[in-house]
């Protein structure tokens, strides 16, 4: 019962947040709606007893990705955010059709094939086990991931910095 209420509330939050995020003209509003979506999803993870993933979701998506997005918007848009530019609605109908088609294609096979287990097993959520799994069987993955993140960091800095032109004349006076 508790779980059901929570599920419906959280899914409503997540879907609404996502919808507002993709359709809102004002980008800053959009980003905050996206955060709401992320938060709703973190709640769902918590509901599924994936505690650490929920925490990581908040930490990474809301704490880091969200702020990165805000920075990118502040750098590329006028500060006031809503600049009144026309947002295309030409693709709106076809976008919807395509999305619904994908929705059906996505859902039919799993729903037909997987018998839904009515009840999940009782599990004891443990961050420690997750950590041990990361350290023992998946340590190579973890290291590769670390490498990837470093590469991404350097790549992002290089890409965002742009090509620095050598100054033609350093002091004109």
């Amino acid at each position: 019962m508790n779980e059901e209420i929570a599920f419906w509330m959280l899914s409503a939050i997540a879907v609404l947040g996502a919808l507002v995020a993709v359709r809102k003209r004002n980008l800053i509003h959009g980003v905050f709606a996206l955060m709401v979506f992320f938060a709703g999803l973190a709640g769902l993870f918590l509901l599924l007893l994936a505690e650490f993933i929920a925490a990581a979701q908040i930490l990474v998506y809301i704490g880091a990705v969200g702020i990165l997005l805000l920075f990118a918007i502040m750098l590329t848009e006028r500060v006031a955010g809503d600049d009144g530019r026309r947002m295309t609605s030409r693709g709106w109908f076809w976008g919807l059709v395509a999305a619904v088609a994908v929705f059906v294609v996505l859902l039919l096979p799993p729903i037909q094939q997987f018998p839904s287990p009515e009840h999940a097993r009782a599990i004891e959520p443990s961050v420690k086990e997750l950590g041990e799994k990361l350290m023992h069987p998946y340590v190579v993955t973890l290291e590769v991931l670390a490498l990837l993140l470093t590469a991404a960091l350097i790549g992002a800095v290089t890409a965002a910095q742009g090509v620095r032109m050598p100054k033609e004349e350093d002091s004109p006076e």
Partner: protein, 103 residues
């Protein structure tokens, strides 16, 4: 709550993201629509894990964890590219970045 509830929810979220990718022209909005789709996939991983036969293997959370880390890298690089593109075109409107198109 059954597994199917979560699967449907994830599919809905995925499609919402898809609508964003299809209909919006702003590169940043497209980027965060992709994020929504990615998160929908994560939800599926966690749901499948939770309803699996052997949750103690922790495959779902581990995969999601890696996915989140990769997504973080993706956003960082993606936004850096958006900024680089903006520096060049002075816009983030995807439809106006069409220098390859024949006029």
């Amino acid at each position: 709550m059954t597994l199917h509830h979560y699967l449907i929810l994830a599919a809905v979220l995925f499609c919402v993201g898809l609508i964003g990718v299809f209909t919006r022209r702003n590169a940043i909005v497209v980027l965060f629509s992709v994020e929504i789709m990615l998160n929908a996939a994560n939800l599926n991983f966690i749901a499948f894990w939770r309803y699996s036969e052997n949750p103690a293997l922790l495959h779902g959370p581990l995969f999601t964890l890696f996915a989140i880390a990769v997504a973080a890298a993706e956003v960082a690089v993606g936004l850096a590219l958006v900024i680089a593109v903006y520096r060049h075109f002075k816009t983030v409107d995807l439809e106006s970045m069409d220098t390859l198109r024949e006029e």
